[in-house]
């Protein structure tokens, strides 16, 4: 006769199992209530029911086009958007990572500024599956979702003294941040592969 958990010749079915069940249930309930109490005000699950039409893509520079032609879409990338203090124009600073070939390319407004090995390429990855060109400066939340093609993500409000009117978002293989409702940071995160 096969035995299941909590069952033995000395511990017949139907006896002494309920304390375990009650205990586990209580612990789980307390954990969920605690987490909910600590973060529920700041965290919401966003479901996109009527996806906005995808906005226009960013124009790739000659450097970026050459990189795409040589290496393809990056496995991972990070893009920051902010205002250049001199030109007072939006600036785009991005890093594209290619783990397969151990290359990481940095661009400022499309021009290559550095190229080196990825710092954290300790394991093979599966590409995040997003394109840097899909994201443009100061997109709205809905536009980011449309550009990324995601229907569900989590929004976490950031404390004002960290970033005023800031929020970060977590979607599948995608992190992004908005300030005053406008995209200023997006990062495509690959999956790691254990061989």
């Amino acid at each position: 006769m096969a035995l299941s958990v909590g069952q033995s010749p000395d511990n017949p079915p139907g006896r002494k199992r309920w304390p375990w069940i009650v205990g586990i249930t209580l612990v789980a309930a307390i954990a969920l209530i605690t987490v909910d109490w600590m973060i529920a005000d700041d965290v919401v699950l966003v479901t996109v029911e009527d996806r906005a039409s995808a906005p226009g893509t960013a124009e790739m520079s000659a450097d970026q086009s050459a990189t795409l032609a040589e290496l393809g879409q990056p496995d991972a990338f990070t893009i920051f958007f902010f205002t250049d203090t001199v030109s007072e124009q939006p600036a785009r600073v991005e890093t594209w990572s290619y783990y397969g070939v151990q290359r990481e390319v940095a661009f400022i407004d499309g021009a290559i500024t550095a190229e080196e090995r990825p710092a954290d390429a300790s394991a093979p990855v599966i590409a995040a599956g997003y394109s840097p060109a899909a994201f443009t400066a100061f997109m709205t939340e809905a536009e980011v979702a449309a550009a990324a093609g995601i229907d569900e993500y989590v929004r976490i409000e950031v404390e004002d003294d960290v970033v005023s009117e800031g929020a970060v978002y977590v979607g599948r293989n995608l992190l992004f941040g908005l300030k005053d409702g406008q995209l200023i940071y997006v990062e495509a995160v690959p999956d790691l592969v254990d061989e």
């Binding site: 699950l45 966003v46 500024t113 989590v154 992190l175 254990d194």
Partner: protein, 411 residues
């Protein structure tokens, strides 16, 4: 082969357990207001904290701490390029600190995020009363600092300084160390550039005349050796600071100039390089002082200068070395104002200072012929700006740049 979904996705699932469904926010149109790079980096740090990515091999960067210190430095009137240096040094400190302690393990992103929002044990245990004095923002800033820097800040607090004064002293003390590090780093980079020669394509070649080839060095040429996401548009023109003397409401003046432009005229035929400096900038430093007092200043500066450099030799690598001395002239206009209220009546006190100052600059230029009509070019400058009179006093400051850029003489 197993696919291991990263912590971001795990955290997403965990977060979803407690989240409430809502509709997507349509957001607001871009209103053209300035967006600080610090905000973007801070959001990345927050996202990494939430998902646990901050502990997945990127501890050395600790972007939240670095970003906070950078933000603090800028809010205290330090120019962005210098803030980059501070942040870079902070990152290095954190890296060293991380190497001296066991690595934290992965997992539990949300809980770790929550736990890391509590004060560090070393702080609360040793200096709890002082820590409380720092206030919420001060505590947040101190928490983001490397342990050795926390000690400095807390020592200042212990001596009776306010949190802001303590941090200001801290940043200033760090500046001296950081500058030395950056200078050495720049020299190393310059040497590396000489050895490897930078790739072409980043130079704006603007004008070609009969005998001189003129190109502009962009702000990119003067970025410090730090994260390129910082410091766009800022040059290493140091702040000028000093006291305004007897005015009890305006004890501190900080002045920094951005947007200096530089133009270099390269004469490949002779052995002389001429350079002219022309630029202007504006920096506003405003420090609400509370108690009905508001103080600040607006400053606008213009810079001019010329350089004649002579060839002094050739390096073993084949670079022609040019050296020269120059005198930079700075014409700066400062409007200082202190606004305060008394019994509901608005009183305004305004003080204006205008004048010219000069700065000696030491310039080194390296040129290597790549082909008959193509040269590579590297430029560095060191300047000491001494600013003293009845109103101002300052320590000599230094700025520099280094870059190897190609010059196509074929036109």
């Amino acid at each position: 082969m197993a696919i291991r979904t990263n912590a971001a996705v795990i955290s997403l699932l965990l977060l979803a357990l407690t989240a409430q469904p809502v509709m997507a926010d349509e957001g607001a149109p871009w209103d053209q207001e300035d967006v600080s790079p610090a905000d973007a980096v801070a959001l990345q740090a927050a996202a990494h904290r939430v998902t646990g990515l901050a502990e997945e091999g990127t501890e050395a960067n600790e972007p939240e701490a670095v970003g906070q210190l950078w933000d603090l430095a800028v809010s205290m009137g330090v120019d962005e390029a210098t803030a980059d240096m501070i942040a870079a040094a902070q990152a290095e400190s954190i890296k060293k600190a991380a190497e001296m302690k066991p690595r934290r393990r992965r997992g539990g992103g949300v809980f770790r995020w929550l736990f890391t929002r509590t004060p560090l044990k070393i702080v609360t245990k040793v200096t709890d009363p002082l820590y409380k004095l720092a206030g919420p923002r001060g505590r947040r800033i101190i928490r983001g600092m490397a342990p050795e820097i926390q000690d400095v800040a807390l020592s200042a607090l212990f001596a009776g300084a306010s949190i802001k004064t303590a941090l200001r002293a801290l940043v200033r003390s760090r500046l001296k160390q950081v500058k030395r590090v950056v200078v050495e780093d720049t020299i190393d980079r310059l040497i590396a550039r000489l050895q490897t020669r930078s790739r072409s394509g980043n130079t704006t070649q603007s004008t070609v005349s009969d005998s001189a080839y003129v190109f502009e060095l962009t702000e990119e040429d003067f970025l410090p050796p730090a994260d390129p996401s910082f410091g766009l548009g800022s040059f290493l023109w140091d702040e000028v600071s000093g006291d305004l003397g007897e005015d009890p409401f305006c004890q501190t003046l900080q002045l920094q100039i951005d947007a200096i432009e530089m133009r270099v005229i390269f004469d490949p035929v002779g052995e002389t390089i001429l350079a002219s400096f022309d630029g202007s900038g504006e920096e506003i430093y405003r420090e609400p002082a509370g108690n009905g007092v508001e103080r600040g200043n607006d400053a606008v500066g213009d810079f001019t200068g010329e350089l004649a450099a002579r060839r002094v030799g050739t390096t073993p690598e084949g670079w022609h070395r040019y050296e020269g001395d120059s005198e930079l002239a700075a014409e700066i206009h400062v409007t200082m104002y202190c606004t305060f209220w008394s019994d509901g009546e608005l009183l305004v006190d305004e003080y204006t200072e205008s004048g010219s100052r000069t700065a000696d600059a030491r310039v080194e230029i390296l040129v290597i012929p790549e082909s008959e009509n193509s040269y590579n070019f590297s430029f560095s400058i060191n300047s000491a700006l001494s600013w003293t009179d009845d109103t101002f006093s300052s320590e000599p400051s230094v700025f520099f740049g280094g870059r190897t850029v190609p010059v196509d003489l074929a036109g």
